[in-house]
């Protein structure tokens, strides 16, 4: 063996960068000190099967599925110097006992085997244990298709069970909360859900009762799993023990198309996956983004897609003739609006634009205001109670986009003067993009009745639409695409998971058509193309295109805003609870 000069040893080179050398399945690599072995294996593309481990939760090490073989250099005899091979690594002496990779961290010159007789034997054995008392009800289990028990069973299991005994009986189909059902026979007792409720939701209502092989997950009947984050337990349940009351038995997951997008219920812009079949949404789940929402999402946000029931939707543009609304063709509607506004004094006209519009739509709204020479602009601030986790007090999803596009931080403050203007008669015409004004205190149908012309856009029928002279139907966030900026200053992409009804336009389409009718003809037909113009116009967006913007978004504005849930996660990391 060559003796290399000590300065050139891999261990010293790695140590300088805060890294360690680790050999995974025969290949050396460098990973940061303190990395969990299971994560290091992930980096090496040597995925280790696991049930209880979840990167955002503490590691109890209870499932024993992630056992790997570990080795370290043998301790040199007293006085002897360690020897290095020609690459500068020490020989690895393999431990005959497997270790769990989820809770152990890497060390310099450590060797890990994720393959081989020992490791594969361990996995096969753990799988057999997990299945002996597990019901064989996959054909009627809602988890089928996304069940790690099924997946690992195929990879590591036996076709035949040696278990001849009677299985343990446990409660099935138990309502443990408003939105979650429990099947204890399917539970592998990994405790992910318990740890989530304890560590992340801070509402430790779940626990194990009984002991040994009779242990079962449950809640105390006085304190059910009704927390607003309860459905996250369904997401992280690796098997079919916890299922969503809303989603269960609705659709086999393999029939569903997944669209990565963002939530628009508040300023956090939680990353989501929308699961659809045809033009129907079946469920919304959080998509991991460590800079936005970690792996989680509140229940009310994920179920918010349900409010867009077809019978409540506005499905065609309409025009108020005397008291009643009559359908009107889009082209005709714009012509008629243009005529009415054209004959009015633009000083009597105001525009209210919602901060739930995408950046591209806001940009078009700005062009519209310029074209119509509207100087009175405002937006509606929506405050809600924050939950110290993922619900922000700002219920608008794109407040920062609004500020960027209009280069104004004060649009929210202008709303009052519009109200005064309407009352005094100074404002006669009002365009409202995406806001139901009657939900704001001090705004009602009577106030809106002072207007000569009210034009508004909505997805759902509401009192503002009712009071409008022109009511224009627009797409929901699930039918729309574009970009938004969350409270942390992160530019994120909204993608359409389903199509809007035939006669319904997105704000983007609506505004380009309108501007077209005003002879603004240079506008592209797709948000992606318009974004090129935005990125040239606004410094913060310089150099970004849809193609370069990943599904995880990109930080573009420094705001110092901290998502409470992420701050708490960071605290747990500092305490060593998670890595």
């Amino acid at each position: 063996m060559n003796k290399l000069s000590t300065t050139s040893l891999p261990k010293d080179i790695a140590a300088e960068k805060g890294l360690v050398n680790i050999q995974i399945d025969g290949i050396w690599m460098q990973v940061p000190k303190g990395t969990r072995i299971i994560e290091a294996c992930n980096l090496a593309k040597a995925q280790v099967p696991h049930y209880c481990y979840h990167e955002k939760l503490s590691s109890p090490g209870n499932c024993r599925m992630c056992l790997v073989q570990m080795g370290m250099p043998p301790r040199p005899a007293p006085g002897a110097e360690p020897t290095y091979d020609e690459q500068g690594y020490q020989e690895i002496s393999w431990n005959p006992r497997p270790i769990i990779s989820c809770a152990n961290t890497v060390a310099e010159n450590m060797g890990i085997k994720t393959q081989g007789e020992l490791v594969e034997g361990c996995r096969k054995d753990v799988m057999e244990f997990l299945l002996i008392n597990h019901p064989l009800d996959c054909p009627i289990c809602d988890q089928a298709g996304e069940c790690t028990l099924q997946e690992y069973s195929v990879e590591h299991g036996n076709a035949q069970s040696r278990f001849k005994e009677t299985k343990i009986k446990k409660p099935k189909n138990v309502r443990i909360g408003e939105r979650v059902r429990l099947d204890d026979e399917r539970c592998v007792l990994c405790s992910r859900c318990i740890r989530f409720m304890d560590e992340v939701a801070d509402d430790p209502v779940l626990g194990f009762a009984e002991r040994g092989t009779h242990s079962k997950l449950t809640v105390h009947p006085d304190k059910l799993l009704n927390h607003n984050y309860s459905l996250n337990t369904v997401d992280i349940c690796p098997v079919g023990a916890l299922t969503s009351t809303d989603f269960r038995f609705q659709m086999r997951v393999w029939f569903l198309k997944q669209t990565p997008t963002i939530d628009t219920n508040c300023g956090h812009g939680i990353n989501t996956t929308v699961w659809t079949r045809g033009n129907d949404i079946y469920r919304v789940t959080p998509r991991q983004n460590n800079a936005v929402n970690s792996c989680w999402m509140p229940d009310n946000y994920r179920l918010s897609f349900k409010k867009f029931k077809e019978e409540l939707r506005l499905l065609e543009p309409s025009h108020k003739v005397t008291e009643a609304h009559q359908p009107i063709h889009w082209t005709k509607a714009f012509a008629s609006i243009n005529e009415q506004l054209g004959s009015a004094n633009s000083e009597n006209t105001a525009l209210i634009v919602s901060a739930s519009l995408t950046n591209e739509e806001l940009y078009l709204a700005k062009i519209l205001a310029e074209k119509l020479d509207i100087k009175i602009l405002a937006s509606v601030e929506h405050k809600q109670e924050e939950d110290n986790l993922l619900i922000s007090s700002d219920a608008n999803p794109n407040t920062l986009g609004l500020q960027l596009i209009f280069k104004l931080k004060t649009l929210y403050k202008k709303l009052g003067s519009i109200k005064t203007g309407i009352k005094s008669g100074a404002i006669k015409n009002l365009i409202v993009l995406g806001e139901d004004l009657t939900t704001i205190r001090g705004w009602d149908a009577e106030l809106l009745g002072h207007l000569d012309c009210l034009i508004s856009t909505h997805s759902l029928a509401n009192s503002t639409a009712q009071a409008s002279d022109y009511s224009l139907p627009v797409a929901t966030a699930f039918e729309n695409e574009g970009t938004m900026i969350n409270l942390s200053g992160r530019l994120q992409k909204l993608n359409s998971a389903i199509q809007a009804p035939t006669n319904v336009k997105t704000h983007f389409q609506l505004l380009t058509s309108w501007l077209h009718s005003l002879e603004v003809n240079h506008l592209p037909t797709k948000p992606e193309a318009l974004f090129i113009e935005l990125s040239e116009t606004y410094k913060a967006l310089n150099g970004i295109t849809y193609a370069t913007l990943s599904d995880l978004g990109e930080p573009i504005i420094e705001t110092n805003y901290q998502v409470p849930l992420l701050a708490k996660e960071e605290q747990r990391r500092k305490q060593g609870i998670i890595a």
Binding site: V174, E178, L224
Partner: protein
């Protein structure tokens, strides 16, 4: 929202003939003072007092009722589930009343070799208890119809040199051969 009957079973106690020998759960100032004293033994974390409080309550009321769990959870401000987890884990805590005299016979190896199984059979006969429905997990305790006696197999009582051994409430009895079962019962039936 309606609760699942399966959930209520977690805290429901099957009716037991032993109940008549115990007062129903009701906190008294004296007991609460003792509980406060127990809590003071854990200055660094109040949750540690769960086991001692359960012992104090069980000692007085015979078993841990649903009300007792609720009371403790309010007293030391922890989730009721955290208490249910503990109560249902430890065989030392009962969720329904044992008899006035609860007899635990050691089942483990040395006592079994010394005849504890026969001792249990003998005790069952004398007290008129049918243990045929018992199993070590779901129904470890069987109570006599009169509620005076209850029988349970315990795991190793750590007196293997003098088996078979048993505990009658807090009294320990060694070398209780099946022949001495009647004497044992007589001691308490006075």
């Amino acid at each position: 929202m309606d609760k699942s009957p399966t959930l209520d079973q977690q805290v429901n106690h099957p009716v037991s003939a032993g109940e008549k020998h115990f007062a129903p759960f009701a906190m008294t100032p004296e007991l609460e003072a003792r509980i406060d004293e127990a809590i003071s033994h854990y200055p660094d974390q109040i949750r540690s007092s769960v086991l001692p409080i359960l012992h104090l309550i069980q000692h007085q009321f015979g078993f841990i009722s649903a009300q007792a769990i609720t009371w403790i959870s309010e007293k030391i401000e922890i989730e009721p589930m955290r208490i249910l987890e503990v109560v249902s884990f430890y065989p030392g805590f009962h969720q329904s009343a044992p008899g006035k005299f609860h007899i635990r016979v050691c089942r483990t190896l040395s006592c079994a070799m010394a005849g504890s199984e026969n001792l249990m059979a003998e005790l069952s006969k004398i007290t008129g208890i049918d243990r045929s429905a018992c199993d070590s997990h779901h129904q470890p305790v069987a109570v006599s119809d009169c509620g005076t006696w209850s029988l349970e197999f315990a795991e190793c009582l750590a007196s293997c040199g003098t088996g078979p051994v048993c505990l009658v409430n807090d009294d320990f009895h060694e070398a209780v051969s099946p022949a001495k079962a009647q004497d044992l019962i007589s001691q308490y039936s006075k």
